[in-house]
Amino acid sequence: MTGMLKTHKALALAGAFALTTLVSGVAHARDQIQIVGSSTVFPFSTAVAEQFGQNTKFGTPVVESTGSGGGMKLFCAGIGEKTPDIANASRRIKEGEFKACRENGVTPVEVKVGFDGIVLGSVKGGIELALTPEQIFLALAKEIPVDGKLVANPNMKWSDVDPSLPDTKIEVLGPPPTSGTRDAFAELALEGGAKKIEMLAAMRKQDKKAFAKVAHAVREDGVYIEAGENDNLIVQKLEANKNAVGIFGFSFLDQNSDKIAGATINGNEPTFEKIAAGDYPISRSLYFYVKKEHVGVIPGVEEFVAEFTNENTWGDDGYLADKGLIPLPEADRKSVAESAQSLTPLSM
């Protein structure tokens, strides 16, 4: 009898506990900011979130790395505490996303935070490359024009691309198609290179879609190796293979500058100064978008924007520069900070 009672009691207790936990989950107001979006902005956004949590009375914002597109989808889904307050993006909001936002009653406020360079790096003492976007395209595109026709990329060695390049096998470790870094690389490096090639430039004038298809297609014959979204892993693989070249964000080059050197593009090294000046061609702007409707509803949104756009944060000597963010020029910082802090809605 006691055995049965005990078991029953235990079961009933467990059930009651489960029920209370379920119920307590129902009504709970959010008291910290929720941020979603790009994995490239993630390292910077988290650094600001942490400082913000330490130095204000507000809770530390929760930052999720969902990718730019995934973040925008969540952000634009509507207003209310179930939806995130801020979306990070490693590209500008797309027209379709902006429309979806407006339809769901979301007014995004755009804040441009800085630049990120994409680097082709190799281990120090290994292969050294001085490239042009055109050469990058000829080395990595799926199809390249040969004698006026598009053929599967026949270049197996760097010297096949251009005799001035070393006589070693092309081996490039880079992010998979799901990555924003890959999108930006295709857009800035490959497309930039394709435009320089006469035949493709002509094609671009006639049929933009067909051009984009050729310009963004990365070869799949084993020369370009998809090494996963983890940039650290790419860096570690480079250490093991002297002849391999990796594609990753500037902050990883910055943190591993003792071991890894970046290839020059058009004669420009991937350095902080050259990317900031716009000389290094493969760089993109980073953004975050604030949901105006949540200002004053979720505590701390306005203050978070103020913290992010503070000179101590995103300035030339700010702590984000130590994390590898390349700041906007001073004049731009001023105007962006002004429009961000006054919460000027984005119009497209």
């Binding site: 467990a14 989950g25 809770g59 929760v62 943190q255 003792d258």
Partner: protein, 446 residues
């Protein structure tokens, strides 16, 4: 007349035609033995290679993790004789200036903006926060000047641990400058640098600064999540197993249920994450009302519920197998002396099946502990600094923390990652050992 062939016990006569048979038989036996030996060697090789992989794995993880268990601290003369600092505002006071002043006092004769910036780089950017919590816990420090131990920066720490790589390389090719090395060596020579147990790692939540990052937030998050999983999956799973095994009629419907449970056990975990996202977070709109959508994003309760759904089939299958293995004679004896079916089940069958049920549950829990995929969709793969104080607060779990640290660019996170893996492994070993202990203690044979 032919001689009778000599008899060999248990075998045929060895005449000329039979010799061949004998040889063939011997060859067959030899082949069988050879096959047996081959199999034995293959088995041995399999065990040895598995063992070798395990040793390599543990070797690299432990080797990487050991440096993370200690940290280098520097003693700075901290002057808390400042006018605007009182006991009441200490909790929100900005100690950065005070730390910088202490640093300048400890390393005098540094001039120029560039050099000053370099000097500031040898101390952790979290030192001010550490000082604040020190003052908060010991307010008597206010108004006095005292030497206080504060954490160095991650680069300085890596240098002291010899993890910087080759420091004889030219200055431009390493992360630490000549002047920083000079100051650190100087302070070390004065006995002002001390290697201590890295308590920050075991007490703090996540951080973007490797030296301020700790595993405690993830440990608490994992605990809360598993608590929800346990509380939901065990009663429901065991009740379902008892009903299906002892009470349910055997018909087509129960067959279909059984097949479904077995299928669910094999469903990839990410699918449960999608279910959690669409049902628990978003809710299903049925036109006139919405079902679900009652859980907050990133919270332990949401993750725990999703993981409970994931482990339920495992718990049900293990419990059913365990209940089935209780001999029918036990039930018949109980029923025979007048016990009701419920009494027979709860007094006799369930206690005997308990070790098996518990083992299955713990194995299921261990699986849930290592899961990240479903949590990705419900927002638990996130950077969360504050240590969760309840089931509805944002939380993350151990494997997610490992994944995120492995992705940060700062090199010092490599050691943190390995150390976090060790903690996760320790958790898993404890849980599995507990399962084995339970089985051995309560196991019964018939």
């Amino acid at each position: 007349m032919t001689e009778p062939a000599p008899q060999v016990t248990g075998s045929h006569v060895a005449t000329t035609p039979d010799k061949k048979v004998d040889e063939a038989r011997r060859a067959r036996t030899a082949r069988r033995y050879a096959a047996e030996r081959r199999f034995e060697y293959m088995g041995l090789a399999a065990v040895m290679s598995a063992g070798a992989f395990l040793v390599i794995l543990l070797w690299t993880i432990v080797g990487n993790a050991i440096p993370a268990l200690t940290y280098n601290y520097v003693s700075l003369p901290i002057n808390l004789e400042v006018d605007d600092l009182t006991q009441t505002n200490a909790i929100e006071y900005d100690f950065r200036k005070i730390v910088r002043a202490g640093l300048t006092e400890a390393v005098p004769n540094v001039s120029g903006r560039r050099e000053t910036r370099k000097l500031r780089r040898i101390i952790s950017s979290g030192a001010a926060i550490e000082l604040r919590s020190e003052v908060a816990s010991d307010p008597s420090l206010i108004g006095k000047k005292s030497d206080i131990w504060l954490p160095l920066s991650d680069t300085a720490d890596l240098y002291l641990k010899n993890l910087m790589g080759d420091i004889t390389r030219p200055e431009s090719q390493r992360k630490i400058s000549d002047s920083e090395i000079g100051w650190i060596d100087d302070l070390k020579g004065q006995g002002k640098i001390e290697t201590r147990f890295n308590s920050i790692f075991f007490t703090h939540g996540a951080s973007r600064e490797p030296e301020m990052a700790g595993i405690w937030g993830a440990v608490v998050g994992s605990f809360l999540t598993l608590l929800v999983t346990l509380v939901l999956s065990v009663p429901i799973g065991v009740a379902a197993a008892i009903y299906l095994e002892e009470f349910a009629p055997k018909n087509r419907i129960t067959d279909i249920i059984e097949i479904n449970i077995n299928n669910l056990a094999a469903v990839p975990s990410i699918v449960f994450g999608l279910l959690g996202l669409s049902f628990f977070l978003a809710g299903v709109n049925l036109g006139w009302f919405t079902i679900g959508g009652f859980f907050p994003r990133s919270a332990a309760i949401t993750g725990g519920t999703v993981l409970a759904l994931m482990t339920l089939p495992t718990v049900i299958i293990a419990s059913r197998a365990s209940i089935k293995s209780v001999p029918p004679s036990i039930r018949e004896a109980a029923l025979g002396i007048g016990a009701s079916k419920v009494q027979a089940t709860f007094h006799h069958v369930l206690p005997l099946a308990m070790p098996g049920i518990l083992t299955g549950t713990i194995i299921g829990m261990a699986g849930a502990l290592g899961e990240t995929a479903p949590l990705l969709l419900i927002g638990m793969v996130a950077f969360i600094v504050d240590i969760p104080g309840g089931l509805t607060e944002p939380a993350t779990v151990l494997p997610v923390q490992i994944y995120m640290w492995a992705d940060f660019p700062e090199t010092a996170f490599r050691q943190k990652t390995a150390a976090a893996i060790m903690i996760l492994l320790a958790f898993l070993i404890c849980m599995n050992a507990f399962a084995v202990w339970l089985r051995n203690k309560f196991e019964r044979r018939w």
